[in-house]
């Protein structure tokens, strides 16, 4: 006679500690788990709702400036080293963890227009309306220390005077050069008092400059002549000029895709370009309702943050036409500068209301140390929402955002205007000879010319 007994090896079921979780054995036989899709759909729905519940992106405001924040810089070497400059010429070094200013650097007579930190993380470079470029040395490790540095205000270690006001400054990601923009583009060496090179193409003011993180010799500028110009230090010449219908306020290179960059345009959109194919944008990122003032890529290269004149900060996917997230507060005014933190977890925005604000890059992300189970749970929830995001209910809940009334109205108005234009064009097309009214894609529509 055969007797069946349940046999369990003691080793498999004995926990090392009493806190350890009991091992759970699952029968994966699908027959035992019917309706799995319905189950998961419900879970996805719950997950997306929970995301809404936990969406608390605002971390805090760094207040201390007495004028609008005009420029910000993050340290490529240290995470907690964050600097902002204001319109009154003040530069503040922030201890982000404690949300207070460690140091205030005084020296600029006019507005600070550009801030950047050298590739080794030791020097701070600033430029401003007072026609000077100042170099400051950053405290070694004091940035993260708890006690605020209240010693006598530091003086710049170098001050280079130019002929014209500087509008922007950026340092190479590797190397010792930095570039300033103003009446022309100047290339400086940290150790020299005169620019080692300067570029001009056209006579309009250059308003922003940004180096390519992956290719340290390549950089691009945007000018008030609505142009975007690419440069290569090795070639010693500008490479190409792209003229758009409206001005580009800022440019950010994708740190993971060396040839792609995104520019914040005055026409409320951001445009991503491949520097090799400037005939058409790769993607048009629409959602802002006023000029986009600044753009910065996440170090993961998968998303970027934009600050706009419409008092909102938005986060876009690198290839998404619409924003993933929109941040705003009642008190936040025009946003002049935005930055992604070095670890891609936080977003900082400097605005007209003299505050620098710290946001989470993912609104519902749980911060702090997570247990592995928690991590898995979050990952599972995210995977579920990702999978079912196309289903109507989940799509609706996931996409819903509360917007300030003016922004909402402006968006609506823009939509109306856009629709009206489209309708007009359609009618025009319908009443013209076929093919006579072309159908230019938006990616090409806003490009005026590509100059060699």
């Amino acid at each position: 006679m055969k007797v069946k007994v349940i046999s369990r090896s003691e080793d498999e079921f004995t926990r090392e500690r009493c806190q350890d979780l009991q091992k759970v054995f699952r029968n994966l036989d699908p027959k035992l788990h019917p309706l799995e899709k319905a189950h998961e759909y419900t879970r996805a729905l719950n997950a997306v709702k929970l995301d809404k519940v936990f969406a608390k992106p605002f971390m805090g405001a760094l207040s201390g400036h007495i004028d609008a924040v005009s420029a910000m810089a993050k340290n490529p070497r240290r995470l907690n080293c964050f600097i902002s400059g204001s319109m009154d010429g003040e530069i503040k070094l922030w201890d982000v963890a404690y949300r207070r200013a460690n140091q205030t650097l005084l020296g600029h007579k006019g507005a600070v227009r550009g801030l950047t930190i050298s590739s080794d993380g030791e020097r701070l470079l600033s430029c401003g309306d007072d026609c000077t470029v100042r170099i400051w040395s950053l405290p070694e490790s004091g940035m993260g220390s708890s006690e605020a540095n209240t010693t006598s205000p530091q003086k710049s270690i170098a001050c280079h005077v130019g002929k014209n006001a500087f509008r922007a400054i950026d340092h190479q990601w590797t190397g010792s050069f930095f570039a300033t923009a103003g009446a022309q583009v100047d290339i400086w060496d940290q150790n020299r008092s005169e620019p080692i090179d300067s570029f001009t193409w056209g006579s309009d003011t250059v308003i922003s400059v940004r180096f390519n993180p992956a290719e340290p010799e390549i950089f691009s500028t945007s000018g008030s002549d609505r142009s975007i110009v690419l440069y290569d230090l090795r070639m010693g010449t500008p490479l190409r000029k792209l003229i758009m219908q409206t001005r580009t306020n800022a440019i950010a290179w994708n740190p993971r895709e060396a040839f792609n960059f995104t520019c914040a345009n005055e026409d409320c959109n951001c445009y991503s370009y491949d520097m090799r194919k400037l005939q058409s944008a790769l993607c048009v990122h629409k959602d802002h309702v006023s000029a986009v003032m600044d753009v910065d890529f996440s170090p993961t290269g998968r998303e970027f943050v934009t600050g706009s004149y419409d008092r909102t900060v938005r986060i876009f996917s690198y290839n998404g036409g619409h924003s993933r997230e929109v941040y705003h507060t009642k008190r936040m005014q025009r946003v002049f500068c935005v930055k992604f933190s070095g670890d891609g977890t936080y977003v900082l925005s400097g605005s007209d209301d003299t505050n620098v604000r710290l946001w989470k890059a993912k609104a519902a992300e749980q911060l702090g140390v997570l247990l592995p189970r928690e991590k898995r749970k979050h990952a599972y929830n995210n995977a579920l929402t990702e999978r079912y995001k196309h289903l109507p209910e989940i799509l609706r809940i996931g996409r819903h955002r509360h917007l300030p009334k003016p922004v909402y109205k402006a968006a609506k108005l823009r939509r109306t205007v856009y629709d009206a234009e489209k309708k007009r064009e359609d009618r025009k097309r319908a009443h013209s000879a076929p093919g006579s009214v072309p159908h230019p894609p938006l990616r090409k529509k806003r490009i005026v010319a590509e100059l060699e």
């Binding site: 899709k37 490529p76 992956a214 490479l239 040839f259 520097m275 090799r276 170090p299 290269g301 995977a383």
Partner: protein, 1049 residues
């Protein structure tokens, strides 16, 4: 501007060539040198050119001085050796000019630049002037002001400011570039010439010694060869332009005086006496002749544009190196930016070695340790370990050894693989035997022992042969046998058998390996192979053996057929299917019987041996196989068809078909039934007896037999039409229609064929009938002919009056192409002879059969009913009051009256509404199609309203969401893989921008491809498993499937 300069220079050249005529222009004024200097120069010239007159020398010297710093090229100033004295005298005329003050020419205009000239040209002009200016300013140690010369106004300003220092000389410089008219030009030239003179003069004071030195070196070079420099003919460059290097340091451009320039000729003249000098000089001359004029530089704007263009292209190219990396990262399922802990952590010893005491306590401890020698011991051990190094030789040796081992391993692996691949059973048998032998005699490796063993074995064998010891000749054996077999116990019986076996082994002839070891495992295939080989090798062997074999095969087949069981499940278990299978089996049996009969006949017949041998040669190439006979296409399609519906299985009595004529002569008729195609019998045609070739692959034995018969017949009546003869030959029974002996007339097969052959209208009818049925039936028959066939038919005007013309020419062509691609080879290469059939009587039987096969299976009606049900389901009539019990039937009166008007009206409305709704349906007019238009509102939330962006088809999207993600449905690893986020990063870890590595096999970002593949494979596997185990588990998937599906029957 450049052209202008060129012209100018040409002019100057011309002028300089004719010094006699235009000497006026050529006179140069130099600055006043100090008398002492003159004297010295004078003296020197005397030394050098004693023949020359003083004045000339002076003149030349002046020139030299003047021109050393001037920007005019050297060739303007030519040294003419035989200058007429009057010419030289003429020169004096210009000496009278004493004023070196610059005076503007009367018609001078400051800005004479062509307004139409390009921007670039203007810039060149500016450049030039700026250069010249620099030239001077250097001498005067003035700061360069070239930067500010953006326009002429500035120029003027500067020049005026400088004129204070330079006595107004510079003013001219700026005008020089803009001079256009000839007279102005001349004047400016003069002035220009005089200017540098003045300037250099000043400089000469400082650098007297330099000049001297230079002169000396030049002289030294000249003195290298004896020849006087007078005799030298110098080539003049054809152009005057800004030909000197543009540098403010170059104050002594090559356009100096004639004497002080070292030319190529100067350098090569010392080689005059050396061999090969002539060719060298020739080459130099050629070079000079060919030396092309360098074009003037392009306008700056254009230059810049070109530069930018080139730069952009270069940079674009260069940055494209990222393309692959970017692509990979974009496609990677996960980007990993987390910091991986350095798992190559140091050992404790390593840590201890690195440890440096910092605090006081640590220092104290360290001291104590050192005092006790504890620290040193560890370090000693470390050092000992460190010293314990392998020498180079040892390492080499080790590596070689390892390499050898590795290679051996791989060699053996490869060998084993190769051996494993060999399919021959004989080979494996032999191999096994040899291995057995090896294992037996493993210890007998050396030849001595081997030999001994061989001798021993031989001895034993000999002994056995002589004594027959093992042939049950022993007493024991005899006794047992005597006692009777039945009485034998098991053990003794075995022992007896054993003995007999040993005997056999010992007396066996050694070479007879094949025969002895052929065991049961050897397949019939092999047997037939060897048999056929034997047959080939020894044609004298009796045919009877083959025939016998064939017989056995047939019998086997018969048995097998009888035993084969009918499937009890699946499609084949359906009643009509089983019936069909049964029928077929019977048919096959009857065929087999027929073949058997024939075989017996042939066994008696010995007259065909020669022909058979001839035929066998071809057939033996292919092994025989079990199963039904099949020819050509059929042979291919049968294995597939077996899995398909059996009623579609078209099977022929192939022996019937295998007779025919040359394909070239005979049009062929093809029929396609679903996937299978088969050959149709042909029209009558002449037989080419010599061309009789049969190529059938299956069952060669029977074929051979059959062919034998054919050939016989051909021999007998060669002139007779083949078809009839074949019919005769094959044991056919046209009158017998019973299920037992359909023989070649397989109604399944040849019903329609018959129609084609005999009465075509019938065929058409059948087709029509078919098409009138549901889709299944209509698709079952597709008859077509090739145009060739038609042609041939018309030509021959044989029995068949009509050829089948397919409905559409297009279809015909298409099918033809399709068929030809499949069949052409066989048709062309294989000359298949097919017999003619006369089976007109059996057409009905075929139809009958079909009808019988589908007797209880009214597909059409079933479908209609299904559709009606579905429609009722999807479009219900709606509830009318009448359907409620009791309504309108309260009283007898009501009952008599029937339902009231309003109820009837309502019903009518409902009916009409339903009809309307039905008429709107897609499948309203499609009799054989049912399209579900059911919309499940509850299920709508599980459906995406439109296909999401990255997906291209609905199927792919559904597939992507089919696999559940949760833990309940997946293994732990599968779960982790499925939920891994697209970007993995840690808070607080700085993510650096991407860095380019040459070997980007594995970027830090993407999990390796391998992992990706593994993941995919895993998910597919589990999905597959789910599918297999669970076909109807979830309402969701079922509903989904039901949704919007188009049912087609």
């Amino acid at each position: 501007m450049a052209d202008h300069l060129k012209r100018q220079s040409h002019k100057k050249n011309k002028v300089s060539k004719k010094p006699g005529k235009n000497i006026k222009k050529e006179r140069k004024k130099g600055p006043r040198l100090p008398v002492s200097l003159y004297r010295e120069l004078h003296l020197e010239n005397h030394h050098r050119y004693p023949i020359q007159k003083e004045s000339e020398c002076e003149e030349q010297e002046y020139e030299g001085l003047q021109l050393r710093n001037s920007d005019l090229p050297s060739d303007i100033y030519e040294y003419e050796e035989n200058q007429a004295p009057e010419d030289s005298l003429k020169n004096h005329r210009f000496d009278s000019i004493h004023s070196f003050e610059y005076e503007l020419p009367s018609n001078f205009e400051d800005e004479e630049i062509d307004e139409g000239a390009a921007d670039g040209e203007e810039r060149i002009g500016q450049d030039k002037s700026s250069k010249q200016h620099r030239l001077f300013s250097y001498g005067k140690k003035r700061k360069a002001t070239t930067m500010q010369r953006s326009d002429d106004d500035v120029d003027e300003e500067i020049s005026s400011s400088q004129s204070e220092d330079l006595d107004g000389f510079e003013g001219d410089e700026f005008n020089e570039g803009s001079n256009d008219e000839d007279d102005v030009k001349e004047k400016s030239w003069e002035q220009e010439i005089s200017d540098p003179e003045h300037d250099t003069n000043i400089e000469a004071k400082d650098g007297d010694e330099d000049v001297e030195r230079h002169r000396k070196t030049v002289e030294a070079v000249h003195m290298l060869h004896k020849k006087e420099p007078k005799g030298m003919r110098r080539k003049r460059a054809g152009i005057l332009s800004e030909a000197y290097p543009e540098s403010e340091f170059n104050l002594n451009p090559h356009g100096g005086d004639t004497m002080q320039q070292i030319t190529v000729e100067d350098l090569i003249s010392p080689l005059q006496n050396t061999p090969g000098f002539g060719s060298l000089r020739k080459r130099v001359q050629q070079l000079e002749k060919k030396g092309s004029v360098v074009d003037a530089p392009l306008p700056k704007a254009l230059q810049d544009r070109l530069n930018r263009k080139a730069g952009y292209e270069k940079t674009s190219d260069e940055i494209s190196k990222w393309q692959d990396i970017v692509k990979r990262n974009r496609e990677a399922p996960t980007l990993v930016f987390t910091q991986r802990p350095d798992l190559t952590a140091a050992s404790t010893a390593e840590l201890a070695a690195k440890f440096v005491p910092t605090t006081n306590l640590e220092k104290e401890v360290m001291e104590l340790l050192q005092e006790n020698g504890l620290v040193e011991s560890t370090t000693e051990a470390n050092t000992a370990l460190g010293h314990n190094k392998l020498t180079m030789d040892e390492v080499k040796e080790r590596r070689e050894k390892l390499a050898k081992l590795r290679s051996m391993l791989s060699y053996h692996e490869a060998k084993a693989k190769r051996m494993k691949k060999i399919k021959s059973k004989t080979y494996h048998r032999l191999l096994q035997n040899s291995r057995k032998g090896n294992t037996k005699g493993e210890d007998l490796i050396d030849p001595e022992t081997l030999k001994e063993a061989a001798i021993k074995a031989e001895f034993k064998r000999a002994q056995e042969r002589m004594t027959l010891k093992h042939k049950n000749t022993s007493k024991w054996a005899k006794r047992i046998i005597k006692r009777g077999i039945k009485a034998k116990e098991d053990g003794s019986r075995e022992a007896l058998a054993d003995q007999l076996r040993t005997h056999a082994a010992l007396t066996r002839k050694i070479h007879a390996i094949d025969d002895a070891t052929t065991s049961e495992e050897s397949s019939g295939e092999e047997d037939s192979e060897t048999d056929s080989k034997n047959g080939l090798s020894s044609p004298s062997k009796p045919k009877t053996r083959i025939l016998a074999k064939a017989k056995i095969e047939t019998l086997k087949l018969l048995e097998g057929n009888a035993e084969a069981e009918i499937p009890t499940s699946g499609l084949f278990s359906l009643p009509f299917m089983t019936r069909a299978i049964e029928k077929k089996r019977k048919q096959a049996q009857s065929e087999a019987f027929a073949v058997l009969e024939e075989l017996e006949q042939l066994e008696n017949d010995d007259a065909h041996i020669d022909q058979m041998n001839f035929n066998l040669e071809k057939e033996n190439e292919k092994p025989a196989s079990y199963g039904r006979l099949a020819f050509g296409d059929m042979a291919k399609s049968i294995p597939n068809l077996k899995e398909e519906e059996p009623d579609m299985l078209v099977e022929g009595n192939t022996s019937d078909e295998a007779e025919g004529e040359d394909v070239q002569d005979i049009p062929e008729f093809k029929k396609k039934a679903f996937s299978s195609r088969r050959r149709k019998p042909k029209d009558n045609a002449k037989i080419n007896p010599s061309g009789v070739e049969l190529q059938t692959c299956e069952k060669p034995v029977t074929d051979a037999v059959w062919k034998d018969g054919c050939n016989d017949l051909i021999d007998f009546n060669a002139s007779v039409e083949q078809g009839h003869e074949v019919d005769n030959n094959v044991p056919k029974a046209p009158d017998v229609e019973g299920p037992n002996v359909p023989a070649q007339a397989n109604p399944w097969l040849y019903g329609p064929v018959q129609g084609i052959e005999g009465t075509f209208t019938k065929e058409k009818n059948t087709i029509k009938q078919d098409t009138s049925g549901p889709l299944v039936v209509s698709a079952s028959l597709e008859v077509l002919t090739s145009p060739q066939v038609r042609r041939k038919r018309k030509k021959k005007k044989a029995k068949t009056q009509k050829s089948i013309t397919p409905d559409k020419g297009q279809d015909d062509k298409e099918n033809e192409r399709h068929l030809s691609s499949n069949d052409s080879e066989e048709e062309e290469n294989q000359d298949v002879k097919e017999p003619r059939f006369q089976l007109s009587a059996e057409n009905e039987s075929q139809l009958e059969l079909i009808q019988r096969a589908f007797a209880g299976d009214d597909v059409e009606a079933d479908f209609q009913q299904m559709k009606v049900e579905a429609l009722n389901d999807e479009v219900p009539l709606g509830e009318s009051v009448l359907s409620l019990p009791g309504w309108g039937q309260w009283t007898d009166v009501q009952k008599k009256k029937g339902p009231p008007q309003w109820i009837l009206k309502q019903q009518e409305e409902l009916r009409q509404g339903r009809e309307q709704a039905l008429s709107k349906r897609k499948d309203f007019k499609m009799n054989h199609v049912m399209i579900s238009e059911k919309m499940d509102k509850k299920f709508a939330k599980f459906m995406a309203p439109q296909l999401p962006f990255p997906f291209t088809s609905r199927e792919i999207y559904e597939k992507s969401t089919r696999m559940p993600l949760g833990r309940e449905f997946n293994t732990d690893q599968g779960f982790r893989d499925l939920i891994r986020p697209a970007v993995l990063k840690d808070a607080g870890v700085i993510i650096d921008p991407i860095k380019y590595k040459m070997s980007e096999t594995r970027t830090g970002d993407s999990l390796g491809r391998k992992q990706e593949i593994l993941k995919k494979a895993k998910s597919f596997r589990s999905e597959d498993k789910r599918k297999r185990s669970n076909t109807t588990n979830s309402f969701v998937s079922n509903k989904e499937m039901r949704q919007n599906t188009v049912q087609k029957i």
